[in-house]
């Protein structure tokens, strides 16, 4: 049963007014895989990731977690499902009024109902794991972008997610801070975390992704292992896009 998908989505559709943003997206991911979403701006990557945990309610399609279909209209079920799907945002979205430690432990206390002592221990452990053991009492306003993103990763990890969705986790960062966040994500890959990530970090993806998915205009144009997508894509659009981001981000990771 190794290869049973942890998460499977089928025919996800989303339109804003008459504009179709997602035109029927299906994909599945198995334990320990990292699937990277690439594609031009406005192609629907963020919308897709947010549809997967129903932050954006899809107009149609289904989501299955470990073989069980999620019914997003049943609130209890939805909240329970979201606890198992971690999400990382481009601009971190830390809770501004809480210290790093409190950011990580608040969901443990309020959502999981953990007692204070274990929540604190867990939060400290997660912050240490992302290299922020010395910053647990700092507030978001006192952290750099890279540190904020690492806090947000610790916050998601503390919930013991089965899958993580990462929406361009490094694209709001100054170049010299990208490395520290990628190092943390690398670590997750090494520890077998299952992830879907939108990113334009091509060299990172080519080294660590199980599969790269090229998305444009709400459709998956092409998908396959990095070696194939990056060097011998079948579709002309994929090739063109890949060569463009190579020029932009290829060097110096």
């Amino acid at each position: 049963m190794e290869n049973d998908p942890i998460l499977r989505i089928e025919d996800i559709k989303k339109a804003y007014r008459a504009r179709e943003i997602l035109k029927g997206i299906s994909l599945s991911i198995s334990k320990g895989e990292l699937k990277v979403l690439i594609g031009p701006s406005g192609g629907g990557k963020s919308t897709l990731l947010q549809c997967i945990n129903f932050l954006v309610m899809p107009d149609g399609g289904d989501v299955w977690l470990e073989g069980r279909k999620v019914n997003p209209h049943r609130k209890r079920e939805l909240y329970g499902y979201r606890q198992q799907v971690g999400m990382i945002f481009q601009d971190f979205n830390l809770f501004d009024h809480l210290s790093a430690l409190q950011n990580v432990q608040i969901a443990l206390l309020r959502v999981k109902g953990m007692d204070k002592k274990s929540a604190r221990e867990r939060a400290v452990a997660e912050l240490e794991r992302v290299g922020l053991g010395k910053h647990i009492d700092h507030y978001p306003a006192q952290l750099s972008g890279g540190q904020k993103q690492r806090v947000s990763i610790a916050r998601a990890l503390a919930m013991d997610p089965k899958v993580m969705l990462l929406d361009e986790p490094t694209s709001a960062l100054d170049p010299e801070l990208i490395g520290e966040v990628l190092a943390v994500i690398k670590n997750l890959v090494a520890n077998g975390m299952t992830m879907i990530m939108a990113t334009h970090q091509i060299s990172f993806s080519s080294a660590f992704a199980t599969e790269i998915i090229f998305m444009e205009d709400g459709l998956i144009v092409e998908q396959g292992p990095p070696s194939k997508i990056l060097s011998s894509a079948e579709c002309a659009r994929t090739k063109e896009f890949c060569s463009k981001i190579y020029d932009l981000h290829g060097e110096g990771n």
């Binding site: 999400m87 979205n93 809770f95 501004d96 009024h97 006192q142 919930m159």
Partner: protein, 224 residues
């Protein structure tokens, strides 16, 4: 010397008596006003459509009519439907509801200023709407709303003087009785003015202190 005697033997005792009544009007009204404001502000932003409309209507009515008219309604109007409020109760009800309407404006503005991303993050962690409001949004919004809400409390201190219009004899009421009895309007009302000034300054100091206590890096108010 005559004046001083008059002040000591007549003005001060009456004003102190009124002062106590004023305080007993202001404290519960300010507290209830803030509670109503937080609830109403939250409902105006996060409530269901009909609830939002209902609360909007409440705010429109209580901000749109003079407070004296509202007080008259609670004290002189309600008996027509068989509800009798004491002057004190009518005043507290009137002040709380009026203050709550204003407070809800500050709370609503502050709620709307919270970045949407944080709500997405909270939802993504599995927070319910109510947990998110309580743990993420309100703690930030209330910090932002504090200066405005404090201002409203200071207004409340001053408009509590309207209670005497419905025969709840607080500080201004005592002063009016005293002044017309001795026909010493200037002296008495100057003294009342000073009492209010002290009250307002105390409240201002307390609110400032509270702002300092609640201040968090990234939430400082400008000019600090």
């Amino acid at each position: 010397m005559d004046e001083w005697q008059f002040f000591q033997s007549q003005v001060f005792p009456s004003l102190m008596k009124g002062f106590k009544v004023s305080i007993s009007l202001i404290l519960p009204s300010a507290f209830l006003g803030v509670c109503i404001g937080i609830w109403a502000g939250s409902m105006r932003v996060y409530g269901s459509t009909w609830l939002r409309k209902l609360v909007d209507a409440y705010v429109a009515i209580f901000r749109g009519t003079p407070l004296v008219v509202q007080l008259f309604f609670w004290y002189f109007g309600l008996p027509h439907v068989g509800i009798y409020l004491s002057p004190f109760a009518a005043s507290v009800v009137g002040f709380s509801l009026c203050s709550g309407a204003y407070q809800s404006e500050y709370v609503r503005g502050a709620l709307l200023s919270i970045k949407k991303g944080q709500m997405l993050a909270a939802q993504a962690l599995g927070f319910s709407k109510w947990q998110m409001l309580r743990s993420v949004i309100l703690p930030q919004a209330l910090r932002r709303a504090l200066p405005g809400c404090g201002n409203e409390i200071i207004y409340l201190i001053k408009y509590s003087s309207l209670a005497y219009m419905v025969t709840c004899i607080e500080m201004t009421g005592e002063a009016k009785i005293l002044a017309s009895h001795y026909f010493k309007y200037t002296e008495v009302f100057l003294a009342v003015g000073a009492f209010y000034l002290v009250l307002v300054s105390l409240a201002g100091w307390f609110l400032h202190h509270l702002e300092g206590r609640l201040s968090i890096p990234g939430f400082e108010h400008h000019g600090k």
